[in-house]
């Protein structure tokens, strides 16, 4: 009956307000890090340009960006057993060789969890392709995009064609290239750096001629930084193994 001094549940003596507040903040921090499988808070050394961030989040499956730039997250109504992750990885770019127009390299880094294998449910590469500015009186201008997987190991020059796609070059716009299987093979290989090469050549241009319409290289507008979106989940078999033990 009535209020009992101290903790109403465990009977411990009351803590100082400040120390209770500090304790609860520490518990909150620890809980978030545990649930995100992080040992400590990530150390953010360089910030992603806000424009690139907002572009990427607009493309992320469920997130929506309010006009004031804040993020609206869809409230989960139904509990999903294994919500999984959606990852946006921004490209680190090599400098493009503008004179020869040789393909330019994009490097994406993915953190692999040591004791979890990852299942890639869906993944796409987002590239910003400029419109062609060569005068064109004929039909709608197009460009052909080639995506290559760079060979593994230093200095290795071999590369594998992943896909080829005819793009509408009438207007500058974002284009997506599905790379689900490529990313799955990459994750299964346990590597950390996915290296792609990209060319977007105007249709009708001679080999080695014509503009590369993909905006790549350090001099590009940061709002058009290429990125990979991936929807991933911890693979069930790793849980199964746990149960067997």
């Amino acid at each position: 009956a009535g209020t009992t001094p101290g903790c109403a549940s465990c009977g411990m003596p009351l803590m100082e307000k400040d120390s209770e507040q500090r304790l609860l903040v520490e518990i909150a921090k620890q809980q978030i890090l545990n649930k995100l499988h992080l040992k400590e808070r990530p150390n953010i050394t360089s910030t992603v340009p806000r424009a690139a961030l907002l572009t990427a989040l607009r493309k992320l499956h469920k997130g929506r960006v309010r006009p004031d730039g804040t993020i609206e997250l869809e409230n989960k109504i139904k509990e999903t057993k294994d919500p999984g992750y959606e990852i946006v990885s921004f490209a680190e770019m090599d400098e493009m060789n503008t004179t020869t127009g040789t393909p330019s390299g994009l490097t994406f880094q993915f953190l692999q969890e040591r004791d979890h294998s990852i299942q890639v449910l869906q993944s796409a590469l987002w590239l910003y392709v400029h419109s062609s500015d060569t005068p064109n009186r004929g039909p709608r201008p197009t460009a052909t995009a080639h995506i290559y997987l760079s060979g593994s190991g230093e200095g290795s020059s071999n590369r594998t064609v992943l896909l080829e796609k005819i793009l509408d070059a009438q207007q500058s716009n974002w284009h997506t290239f599905p790379i689900t299987h490529t990313l799955q093979a990459f994750m299964d290989g346990g590597k950390r750096r996915l290296q792609l090469e990209v060319t977007c050549k105007e249709a009708g241009s001679e080999p080695g001629q014509g503009q590369n319409l993909c905006e790549l290289g350090k001099s590009m507008d940061m709002a058009h930084q290429p990125f990979v979106v991936a929807q991933v989940r911890l693979r069930d078999d790793s849980k199964h193994i746990l149960q067997r033990r």
């Binding site: 009535g2 209020t3 009992t4 903790c7 109403a8 549940s9 609860l24 903040v25 518990i27 909150a28 921090k29 809980q31 978030i32 649930k35 995100l36 992080l38 808070r41 990530p42 150390n43 953010i44 360089s46 910030t47 992603v48 961030l53 990427a56 989040l57 992320l60 469920k62 997130g63 804040t70 993020i71 997250l73 869809e74 409230n75 989960k76 509990e79 999903t80 919500p83 999984g84 992750y85 959606e86 990852i87 946006v88 990885s89 921004f90 880094q109 993915f110 953190l111």
Partner: protein
């Protein structure tokens, strides 16, 4: 489910909110802006055991077996979360990639006695 006031006596939900800016976490957590780490506290006298809904827990099962068999024990029921919801988060990992996930069971919505 009751919401705790300043003086806590019976099992209730205590609101507790951490703003990420206040703990200098806003640089790596893009959304949301804070975390409602609500928790349950308060007494569960015998009369309240099992109210306002049975907490599905091992403790509840054992407790109801003891009661059903008329075993008068010193076990008291506990004030525990009976409803939780996930926390949707968008954050930078150490690779500066953006990660979005729904972390299950992160926000206590209501409390009850087992």
């Amino acid at each position: 489910s009751l919401r705790c006031g300043d003086n806590v006596s019976v099992c209730c939900k205590k609101d507790f909110y951490v703003k990420f800016k206040d703990i200098q976490w806003q640089d790596w957590i893009i959304a949301p802006e804070g975390y409602h780490m609500n928790y349950c506290m308060g007494q569960c006298p015998q009369a309240l055991a099992g109210s306002p809904g049975i907490a599905s827990s091992f403790h509840a099962t054992v407790f109801s077996q003891l009661k059903a068999n008329g075993i008068n024990s010193a076990v008291s029921s506990c004030c525990v979360p009976i409803q939780r919801r996930p926390l949707s988060m968008v954050y930078f990992n150490s690779q500066h990639s953006i990660v979005k996930t729904d972390v299950p069971d992160m926000i206590v919505e209501s409390c009850g006695c087992t």
